[in-house]
Structures are given as structure tokens and as C-alpha cells.
């Protein structure tokens, strides 16, 4: 394992110190592990709080700022944050209009946010929770913990953040988040496994010519193993898989997020995106907006995920709204 770290134990704290130094426009409470905007919104505004294990940067800290999140709670690497963080964050950013928790659907995240929401309610805070569960690699059945939350998180945080900024109420913001999640589907492919610093070796072994299809963002293995194939075929399969679970027909519009998992060169992401765009065009699906880059990563995993969100006028308007965060900026 070769990593640019000091010790596996101090990764989160050390990274937060660097994040704080790089982003003076944000407030980083290192002991409590809470990232907030340095300036509170002027009037009452629904506060958006998210969080999750670290190792997915820029998610979530990179999305704190006007037009998106009010606070993020980074957990240890691949480990859900604890309720204390979420509570501290909620209290720090609550601004008279309630708090929305954006939670990726993982057992740990769900339970920790649940405990936080309980205590927050006891302390008189109004809290709504938006659960993100967009990963079609997982069957949503009694046989699983339900679909994982992955790329759609970026879309939920961006659009709900924009709506909150415009003064919408708590229920409205939460409902929008749920609507965006329901309109989103994702699927991921890995060329290499991620190495958690504390584990010291890759989460799974992958031969030189094989890929893991349907992986999650926590280094967990995927649906199955396949031979590596040309980007064209891989992209076609991923588009196919996502669409098989989507109710999109020719003429529909989507927002497409082609997301790198951490160690994928942007050059390769563009190669894949070219194929994705071509496959969608063949089916008459219009990509109204796209985003190509590293947004929801999995440490040093090479690979990509595709998220397709069915778009409409409201979503596009919110997607285009100004945002000023470390990882997403729009005038």
C-alpha cells in the first residue's frame, strides 16, 4: 500500500486540516468533524446537512457552500459518521426553517442519522431525512439492505440545495430531494479495488484482465467479475443496465453524471462519456446536462459510475442555479 498519509489512524484529521487550509470560505471544526459555511445565510433557510464515511471526496465536504449543503459530517474512511457529528452540524446551521438530512442508504449511515434525528427532535429541531438509494446493482428486496446511495447524492444535494436557497419550506425541500432520488439510477464498474488505509491492502483481488461489475463505493466487491472489454462495450452494458431499471423513453431528457471512482484519468472518463452519450443518443434520450469527473469516489479505486436522472424543467432550473462550493461552482 502506497499512500500519501501520515498514519492510517490520522488520515481523516490530517485531511481535514488540509481541507481547512485550502478552503478559508468554510469553517472546519476538526475535533467535532463538522464542515460548515463560514457565513450563515441571512434570513431563515432550510439547512441541508449530509455526511458519510470519508474516502469519497469531494463528497460531502466539497459540496458545502452557497447553493448546496450547509454542513457536512465526514466519518472515518468508509465508516458512517456518528450521531454527535450530525447533531452538532444540525445545531450549527439550523436557521429557523428546519434541517434536511441527506443520507446515503447504508445500514451504518441510516442508523447513525436515525439516532441523530431522534435526539434532534428531542431537542426541538425539525428534521426531515432524504434517503438516497440509486444503485441498481443491488436488488431492492427483503434479501438486501436495499439499494445503495451513490452518484444521485450529488444531484439531490445540488437541486435540494438550490431550492433551499430560494426559500422553499422544509417539506418542499425534502420532497424535492426524494423526487430527484426517485428519478435517478446508477451503476458502477471497477478496474481495481480500493485500499482502506487501516486495512493496508485492496478490498478484493482483481486479475490484470478482469473487472468487477456492479461495485459499491466502499471497496465492496460487485455483482460479478468479467473480462475487461473496450470502453465502448462496457459503456453500452452500463447504459443498458441503468436503463433497464429506468422508465425512460425516446424523447426524455436526463442529467448524466459520469463519475470517476478516484484513480481514473480524466482522459479515460471522457472516452467512456463519449460512448455513453452515443448510446443514449441512439435511444433518443437527450442529455440535457452532464457532469464528467470525480465527484463520488472510492479512495484509489479505478473505474467509473454512471448516474442518469430524468430531468424536467424544474430540475434543470435547479441544476443550473448558482452554486459556490469547493467541488462544484456555477455563476
Amino acid at each position: 500500500m502506497k499512500k500519501l498519509i501520515n498514519t492510517p489512524e490520522s488520515v481523516l484529521e490530517d485531511a481535514l486540516a488540509g481541507f481547512a487550509a485550502a478552503h478559508p470560505e468554510l469553517t472546519v471544526d476538526i475535533p467535532n468533524r463538522v464542515i460548515t459555511r463560514a457565513a450563515r445565510p441571512a434570513g431563515p433557510k432550510v439547512a441541508l446537512v449530509s455526511g458519510g464515511g470519508s474516502g469519497h471526496e469531494p463528497l460531502h465536504g466539497g459540496f458545502v457552500g452557497p447553493g448546496m449543503l450547509d454542513a457536512a459530517c465526514p466519518g472515518e474512511v468508509f465508516t458512517s459518521p456518528v450521531p454527535d457529528q450530525m447533531l452538532a452540524a444540525a445545531k450549527a446551521v439550523e436557521n429557523g426553517a428546519g434541517v434536511v438530512f441527506v443520507v446515503k442508504n447504508y445500514t451504518g449511515d441510516v442508523m447513525n442519522f436515525e439516532l441523530a434525528a431522534e435526539v434532534a427532535a428531542e431537542e426541538g429541531l425539525e428534521v426531515r431525512t432524504v434517503l438516497v438509494n440509486d444503485d441498481v446493482a443491488v436488488e431492492d428486496s427483503t434479501w438486501t439492505a436495499g439499494r445503495r446511495g451513490t452518484g444521485a447524492t450529488v444531484l439531490v444535494e445540488k437541486t435540494a440545495g438550490a431550492l433551499a436557497e430560494r426559500g422553499a419550506g422544509l417539506d418542499e425541500v425534502a420532497a424535492l430531494g426524494e423526487r430527484v432520488n426517485a428519478a435517478s439510477r446508477s451503476f458502477a464498474v471497477a478496474l481495481t479495488a480500493a485500499t482502506v488505509p487501516a486495512a493496508g491492502k485492496p478490498g478484493f483481488d482483481l486479475p490484470e484482465d478482469e473487472i468487477e461489475v456492479g461495485v459499491g463505493i466502499h471497496g465492496e466487491p460487485g455483482r460479478r467479475r468479467e473480462k475487461l472489454r473496450p470502453a465502448r462495450e462496457l459503456a453500452a452494458e452500463v447504459v443498458e443496465t441503468v436503463l433497464a431499471d429506468h422508465h425512460l423513453t425516446a424523447g426524455d431528457e436526463v442529467i448524466a453524471l459520469l463519475n470517476g471512482l478516484g484513480a481514473t484519468p480524466l482522459l479515460e472518463l471522457y472516452v467512456v462519456y463519449g460512448e455513453v452519450a452515443a448510446r443514449l443518443a441512439e435511444r433518443g434520450i437527450t442529455v440535457a446536462r452532464s457532469l464528467v469527473g470525480n465527484y463520488v469516489t472510492s479512495l484509489d479505486m479505478a473505474g467509473f459510475s454512471l448516474t442518469l436522472t430524468q430531468a424536467d424543467a424544474q430540475l434543470l432550473d435547479l441544476w443550473d442555479a448558482p452554486v459556490d462550493t469547493p467541488a462544484l461552482k456555477r455563476a
Partner: protein, 214 residues
């Protein structure tokens, strides 16, 4: 009840937490390895962080009884662990602490452990057979109850619970996970022992050790 038989008192509760912390340190890599196979490779470091903090939390504590030790441990686990195991073990220890009279014999301990199991099941919604903590904790509670009913001493009951928990953990190997991260693997989750069930077995084994060493 034999007066020489140890009861579950404050000192034993503290010794148990110390013993868990030592065992988790020793077994950290194995737990992480099990979690790498069907999870995300952090179960060892999660529990290490949690029980190190639990140990530290005992330092300044003037506990009012064994229940207070365990409640405090649960609160610390919730605050420090995160992940799935943090809230689950945290809630379990809090429930255990709340249910534990001072000092407790085998019967009371069995009921307190049952309360802990209930807390896990309420929060995590796992059934036996889902390949989780529940699969080690459930047979441990059953063994504790049976031993207590048969008039066993605390060391005897705890040893029976440890054996049952370990068997329960081993029995997770062929299971297909239906809760937690491992459930994403579907059929590929079979053939591996569940990390959480394994750490639960560790909890009961250390309990047997500290009661037996009294």
C-alpha cells in the same frame, strides 16, 4: 445461591470492558479481514476506536454500579464508532446497562443480555439467519437463560454463552447475508464468517474469561 460465586458487579463490568478492549486490539486484523471479504474492511478498526474510547471513558467515571459502566460504554460506542456496528453495539450496551441490577447473577444477566439483543433487533431489524450480530447474540442469550434456569454459576453460564456465541458465529459461514453491506454480495456472501457475529462471540468469550478469573 453459593456465596463464593462471583456476581456481575461494577468491578467485573469494568474488567469486562478492559478485556474486550484488549481482545479487540489483538483480533483487530482478523475482524478487518473478515470485513474485507464481505464488507468494507473496517470492522476491526471501528471496534478498536470504540473500545479504546470506552476504556478512556471509564478513567474518570465514578460508576454507581455495573449498569452505569455499560451504559457509559454504549454511549461512547455510539459517539465514537460510526458505521453499522457503532449504533448497534452502542444501543445494545445502553440497553444492557439499563436492564442490569446490581449486583447481578446469572438470571438477571440473561435478561439484561436479552434486552441488549432486543435493542440490536429493534434498530437493525435483522432476523436470526440474516448473517449479523444477531446470529451470535441470540444463541448466547438462549444458553445464558438455559444455564441460569439450570442453576449454573455466573462463570458457568458465561462460558456456555461464549460457546454458543462462537458456534453461532461459525454458523454464519454458509448463510447468505440479508442485512448490512454483505447483503450487496448476494450469493457471494456465503462461505465467509460474519465479522459482526465474530466480534459478538468475542464479547461473550471475554465475559466468560473475566467471570471465570474471579
Amino acid at each position: 445461591m453459593d456465596f463464593d460465586t462471583p456476581l456481575f458487579d461494577t468491578a467485573l463490568a469494568e474488567a469486562w470492558i478492559r478485556s474486550i478492549a484488549a481482545a479487540v486490539e489483538k483480533e483487530q486484523d482478523r475482524l478487518t479481514e473478515l470485513d474485507s471479504a464481505i464488507g468494507d474492511g473496517d470492522h476491526g478498526s471501528n471496534l478498536r476506536r470504540g473500545f479504546d474510547a470506552a476504556l478512556a471513558a471509564l478513567e474518570g467515571l465514578q460508576p454507581t454500579g455495573p449498569g452505569a459502566v455499560l451504559t457509559r460504554t454504549g454511549t461512547t460506542l455510539i459517539s465514537k464508532v460510526g458505521g453499522a456496528s457503532g449504533p448497534l453495539y452502542g444501543k445494545a450496551f445502553r440497553a444492557l446497562g439499563a436492564a442490569l441490577p446490581e449486583p447481578a447473577g446469572p438470571v438477571a444477566l440473561a435478561e439484561a443480555m436479552a434486552a441488549g439483543l432486543d435493542a440490536v433487533r429493534i434498530l437493525g431489524k435483522a432476523e436470526p439467519g440474516d448473517k449479523t450480530i444477531v446470529d451470535a447474540w441470540t444463541p448466547a442469550v438462549a444458553a445464558l437463560r438455559a444455564a441460569a434456569a439450570a442453576g449454573a454459576t455466573l462463570p458457568e453460564a458465561a462460558a456456555a454463552a461464549a460457546d454458543a456465541a462462537e458456534q453461532g458465529a461459525r454458523d454464519t459461514v454458509p448463510l447468505r447475508a440479508r442485512k448490512g453491506r454483505a447483503s450487496y454480495l448476494g450469493e457471494r456472501s456465503t462461505g465467509h464468517q460474519d465479522p459482526g457475529a465474530t466480534s459478538t462471540a468475542l464479547l461473550f468469550r471475554t465475559l466468560a474469561d473475566v467471570t471465570g478469573n474471579r
